[in-house]
């Protein structure tokens, strides 16, 4: 059965949920999988009618189905308005619930936004069947709802996009040619500074991030010069404040393929405009991280500047930090830590890590708050003073800050930084020193006069690390990489054995059946996996290998995991325990327990009996 509807389910719509802890999970999950698949065969995913009982059976899909239900109303709009902003303005003007005072600005925004930014002209041909409905624009609908302050549930204003999954895949592929080239030769710092909202290239960017102040002043923009985007920022501000005036909050606007996600943090507004098909929950978390990065640089006491002067211009305060933000945004498309909220460790022999840990422990006992030894994005050792714990997000932001700032490589530095999850209001002081090209030591303290003491500590630490060969081992580990799925033995037990010896955590019972066809990747068609230990705040992932070896494929898998994570942690319907999802690209399996989360991608053509459950 699985095989049968595989083709029909061209894309990522298969979920299975088992809420019932069962002594024999293997069979029960298998059965429930069959049951779910049975239900699925009755649905043709190309034209899903919004059937209530199916929605309840498939929680993580309900969203997209509901969307599809509303899609109809908006399709015609997309189809018939090929980027003629003029006609769109008129549509908006017709819309109900407008407040005169705001009209000028908001209208302007809609015409600009929908005519240009929120739809990619090249993609308008996404085979949308027009189903006439005299719909007003998404904004109009949104405004109507919000000004009646009827409390939009959950995701706020929802303007629905209208392409089905198959098209989406194509769109992703098509546009990936753009993104991939950017990806593979990613350079730090801001690019395309000469663009602004009038540039065609700017409008075609797939993912925009903006930070602005509550008075509409631009603070940061991923693309283009902030000052030239002042008008656009004012527009975003107008949308946010319009909804706020109605006693509501705008969280999400959908316009065609674009999602506009808003995050309000006191006087700071953050906006992401994206057509990357990422779940809006993910985009929202990315905005949180972006905000955290800003706090790391400035502390939350920046709010006081706005209390004193609402029109305060923050851009000078962030001078020279473009590279920090752009590298964080880049990591949203490759670093699983950005959605897993966990960090990863550099694989090292026990004795090596012990040696590093022991010397850092000595430092931490002498008044250093945190001593962190990292190799690129991976932790070699981390020690905190008593009762101090470092949130994985703070680590991500700190490592990003240090790695994206070239200046740390030239010499030893002593810089104020703020850990948003530790204390968003105060600076700590970080001693940063690169021990070699990739390995760097960070010593955090609350004492601004500690530089010389930390410098002495660093000299001692460096001596110990050299003596115990930690730096060489770290370099070798960087070259060797982590685990490879090909190295996993095919027989049942050793996989779990090898993993648990690594992290000392319980392991899913993995079963592979004999007689599988020989497939690319690891046993049973395993292509890639990520294992996250909840207790340790750590994750381990296999290296990308044979079938998933181009940046484009890796990014696609990354996005698939991201989607999986989001659907597993759905606030309303989740958390779920298991999910099995099959599309053209992979079979994805996710298993969440109290102790761990396992994400795995398999060959989509692998025999079902080969899967681990």
């Amino acid at each position: 059965m699985l095989q049968d509807d595989d083709d029909a389910n061209s894309s990522s719509e298969t979920d299975s949920i088992d809420q019932n802890p069962n002594p024999n999970p293997t069979t029960s999950i298998d059965q429930s999988l069959d049951a779910i698949e049975g239900q699925l065969t009755s649905i043709s995913l190309h034209s899903i009618p919004p059937i209530p009982q199916i929605i309840s059976a498939l929680p993580s899909d309900s969203h997209s189905q509901l969307q599809q239900a509303t899609v109809a109303q908006n399709l015609e709009y997309i189809d018939t308005l090929p980027s003629d902003s003029h006609s769109q303005v008129e549509q908006v003007v017709e819309s109900p619930g407008e407040v005169d005072m705001e009209r000028g600005v908001v209208d302007n925004s809609v015409s600009r936004g929908q005519g240009v930014l929120w739809r990619n002209n090249s993609d308008v041909d996404v085979d949308v069947e027009g189903q006439g409905s005299p719909s007003s624009s998404g904004y109009a609908g949104g405004k109507g709802t919000s000004s009646s302050s009827s409390g939009i549930s959950g995701s706020g204003i929802e303007e629905i996009s209208g392409d089905d999954e198959v098209d989406r895949v194509e769109v992703v592929n098509r546009s990936a040619s753009f993104g991939a080239s950017v990806d593979s030769e990613w350079l730090p710092g801001k690019r395309h500074v000469n663009e602004d909202d009038a540039s065609v290239s700017w409008r075609k960017r797939k993912k925009h991030f903006f930070i602005l102040s509550h008075s509409g002043k631009p603070i940061y923009s991923r693309y283009g010069d902030e000052h030239r985007l002042a008008g656009f920022s004012a527009t975003l501000q107008a949308i946010i404040s319009f909804v706020e005036n109605g006693g509501d909050r705008v969280k999400l606007v959908r316009a065609g393929k674009h999602q506009v996600v808003f995050l309000v943090k006191g006087p700071i507004y953050l906006v992401c405009i994206s057509c990357t098909e990422e779940p809006h929950e993910s985009l929202s978390e990315q905005l949180e991280l972006l905000y955290g990065q800003m706090i790391l640089i400035l502390t939350k006491s920046i709010n006081r500047c706005f209390e004193k002067n609402a029109k305060f211009d923050m851009t000078p305060l962030l001078g020279g930090t473009d590279a920090v933000f752009s590298s964080l945004i880049h990591s949203f498309s490759w670093n699983p830590a950005t959605f897993l909220h966990a960090y990863s460790c550099l694989p090292l022999a026990y004795a090596t890590r012990q040696a590093a840990g022991a010397i850092l422990q000595d430092v931490a006992e002498s008044g250093v708050l945190f001593a962190i030894l990292m190799c690129k994005h991976k932790v070699i050792s981390l020690v905190g003073a008593q009762k101090a714990s470092l949130h994985p997000d703070d680590m991500l932001l700190l490592a990003n800050f240090v790695m994206s700032s070239e200046s740390f490589r030239t010499s030893e530095s002593f810089s104020p930084i703020c850990l948003p999850r530790y204390n968003p209001m105060a600076f700590l002081y970080t001693y940063v020193y690169y021990l070699d090209a990739d390995t760097y030591l960070m010593l955090l303290t609350a004492n601004p006069d500690a530089f010389h003491r930390l410098k002495d500590w660093r000299i001692r630490i460096e001596m110990v690390l050299l003596k115990s060969n930690v730096l060489n081992e770290a370099q070798r580990s960087m070259v060797d990489g982590g685990m490879h799925v090909e190295d996993l033995p095919v027989n049942p037990s050793p996989l779990s054995g090898s993993l648990s010896s690594h992290l000392g955590q319980p392991r899913p019972p993995l079963d592979s059946t004999d007689g599988c066809k020989t497939l690319l990747g690891g046993p049973a068609g395993l292509w890639h996996f990520i294992y996250r230990s909840i207790y340790l705040d750590q994750y381990v992932s296999s290296e990308f290998s044979s079938p998933v070896n181009t940046p484009k494929q890796q990014k696609r898998l990354f996005r698939a995991y991201q989607k999986l994570y989001t659907s597993m942690h759905d606030r309303e319907l989740g958390p779920h325990k298991t999910q099995f999802r099959r599309d053209n690209n992979y079979v994805l399996l996710c298993w969440v327990t109290q102790d761990f989360e396992l994400y795995a991608a398999f060959d989509p053509l692998a025999d079902k009996v080969c899967f681990l459950l």
Partner: protein, 200 residues
């Protein structure tokens, strides 16, 4: 504060000035003999040390290269507290950076150590054709405020070592106030400008 051990002197030196004035470039030219056309912004402050031989003494400079960004301004006292010397750097092609330099001078006069040896460096002297601040204007200002003044170019290395050597000479105990402030001026901006036709 400068501390002596026989003929060896250890002195904390801080560089202050607007962002992009060339503080890091000056230090890197002095310490490592390097110059980058696109020097990344400094974060917080970077620490360097360099030892100079002046007459029969050695001076070990512990140099704090501070970030010029506004956000670090309020943290600057952390770096200049107890400094024996300061170099206040501005960009001769930027009036704003000169104005910023004057602010730093005022701040040091109020907050800093009164015996601090303070130098005013008009950097990017190779950019003669973009000059906005004349050497005379800066020199007069320096004399009025008891600083010594040089125009430097980290790019061509003009006057970079000289300014550090001059500070070393003026440090207390090394050679106390042999030269009145503002007299020793090795001011040769023209040298840099001749070779600056193609500079960025």
């Amino acid at each position: 504060m400068a501390t002596t051990a026989r003929n060896n002197l250890s002195a904390k030196l801080v560089l202050l000035g607007d962002m992009g004035a060339g503080k890091s470039s000056l230090v890197l030219r002095f310490v490592k003999g390097q110059f980058l056309d696109f020097q990344e912004s400094t974060i917080g402050a970077a620490f360097f040390s360099q030892t100079l031989a002046v007459n029969d003494a050695t001076v070990k400079f512990e140099i704090w290269d501070t970030a010029g960004q506004e956000r670090y301004h309020s943290l600057a006292p952390m770096y200049y507290r107890g400094a024996a010397a300061a170099i206040i750097v501005y960009d001769i092609a930027s009036i704003d950076s000169f104005a910023r330099a004057k602010k730093w001078v005022e701040e040091l006069q109020k907050q800093g150590n009164p015996n601090m040896v303070t130098a005013l460096a008009g950097n990017k002297a190779d950019l003669e054709e973009k000059r906005k601040v004349t050497a005379d204007e800066a020199r007069v200002y320096a004399e009025e405020n008891g600083l010594f003044f040089m125009e430097t170019s980290a790019k061509t290395a003009a006057n970079v070592n000289e300014i550090f050597y001059e500070i070393a000479r003026r440090l207390p105990r090394a050679q106390p106030s042999q030269n009145p402030a503002g007299m020793v001026l090795v001011d040769r901006p023209a040298v840099g400008s001749q070779s600056s036709a193609c500079c960025s």
